[in-house]
């Protein structure tokens, strides 16, 4: 990417904003990055005209890819510095980021899934295009899984009618493992 194409983003506290509406629309369209301010579920991304908020995961990913630059006040943040700040602002940041990167790297659109009671909603094409995203819950790295997590996962799959997946990071194999649990009528 040419230096001039790099999108400017600004950090306020723990939140990242893109002030150029043109750049914001470009980012959003390029893979459903960010949330246009005060626009709910944009129907048509082509006439998007709003400020864009990026999640810390998205911002770190886009910074690492060289798509954006992040400023805090007058200084520009290195990706190392920004990563460190993000860790302080968000629980399980490293685990979430590893899963986010793994999925984005595979070409999925990865969005927050707070409303489903989980960490990520994963779309093949994008929200509003495919309707049954995978819902992903990330478990801490050290994890020991409490059986109740499995029950919860099974329950959620059943009630939300979406594919609910637990993601963990295998430190030995250095990869993300995904598990699905469904209630089994014995």
């Amino acid at each position: 990417m040419v230096e001039t194409d790099v999108v400017e983003a600004s950090l306020y506290g723990s939140r990242v904003l893109v002030w150029s509406k043109e750049d914001g629309a470009k980012l959003y369209k390029s893979g459903f990055y960010g949330k246009p301010l005060n626009v709910n579920k944009p129907k048509d991304a082509s006439d998007l005209n709003a400020y864009l908020e990026l999640s810390p995961l998205e911002a770190n990913y886009l910074l690492e890819k060289g798509v954006i630059r992040v400023r805090s006040g007058r200084s520009r943040l290195t990706k190392e510095r920004f990563l460190k700040l993000s860790r302080g602002h968000y629980r399980l940041f490293d685990e979430l980021y590893a899963v986010y990167k793994d999925l984005r790297g595979k070409g999925y659109v990865v969005r927050p899934a707070m409303k489903f009671g989980a960490d990520f909603a994963v779309y093949q094409y994008g929200p509003g295009i495919d309707h049954a995203p995978f819902i992903i819950h990330v478990l801490p790295n050290s994890a020991d899984i409490d059986p109740i997590e499995i029950v919860r996962a099974g329950r959620l799959s059943h009630t939300v009618r979406k594919k609910f997946v637990l993601a963990t990071i295998d430190k030995v194999q250095k990869k993300v493992l995904y598990y699905m649990f469904n209630w089994w009528k014995a």
């Binding site: 999925l103 595979k106 999925y108 994963v122 995978f134 478990l139 994890a143 020991d144 899984i145 409490d146 059986p147 109740i148 499995i150 029950v151 996962a153 099974g154 997946v165 963990t168 295998d170 030995v172 493992l177 995904y178 598990y179 699905m180 649990f181 469904n182 209630w183 089994w184 009528k185 014995a186």
Partner: protein, 174 residues
């Protein structure tokens, strides 16, 4: 009562001899037939005893009722009762249940009406006990061993009062 097959306790197993051996085996592939004798494992003894399908004696002709057998078989084996809960729950649902691969809370489970020896077990059932966590690496290794033996992995979550709920678990590639 006197017609019930007699089993003889030897350490933590029980042996049924004579024509009763085959008779008990035929009731649902219980135990292992070895040279005409049927050898029952601890959970099998308890299941058949609880259902009043066999009688249990030791070498000095003392008979054991179900509670006494539980006490005896869980000596030095704190996991025994939980293993029995899972075993008997699956049996009551009509499955044929055989020991798993490890010393863990694990069973190979055949579909209903299966003929053991003619077909492999369809499921690997692994028990998880409420209040106790399972390591990710352990879950990964169970999942892998189920995959290698071409069985569906079923996790049985056993709550603190012994109620069991089953979940089909699969590792997926996204």
């Amino acid at each position: 009562m006197s017609e019930l097959p007699k089993s003889l306790l030897k350490q933590k197993k029980a042996i049924i001899s004579g024509p009763d051996a085959d008779k008990v085996y035929q009731q649902g592939s219980f135990g292992e037939l070895e040279e005409g004798k049927l050898v029952l494992s601890d959970v099998e003894i308890l299941f058949l005893l609880e259902r009043e399908k066999i009688l249990l004696y030791n070498e000095s002709e003392k008979s054991f009722a179900f509670p006494e057998a539980v006490a005896l078989l869980s000596k030095d084996d704190p996991e025994m009762w939980v293993r029995y809960l899972l075993y008997s729950d699956l049996r009551r649902r009509g499955y044929i249940v055989k020991p798993g691969y490890g010393p863990k809370l694990e069973y190979r489970v055949y579909r209903r009406g299966a003929v053991v020896g003619k077909e492999p077990a369809k499921y690997l059932v692994y028990g998880l006990v409420e209040g106790r966590t399972i390591g990710i690496s352990e879950l990964a290794s169970i999942s892998n061993s189920a995959k290698l033996s071409k069985k569906d992995l079923i996790l049985a979550v056993i709550d603190r009062q012994g109620e069991i709920t089953y979940y089909d678990a699969s590792e997926i590639t996204l």
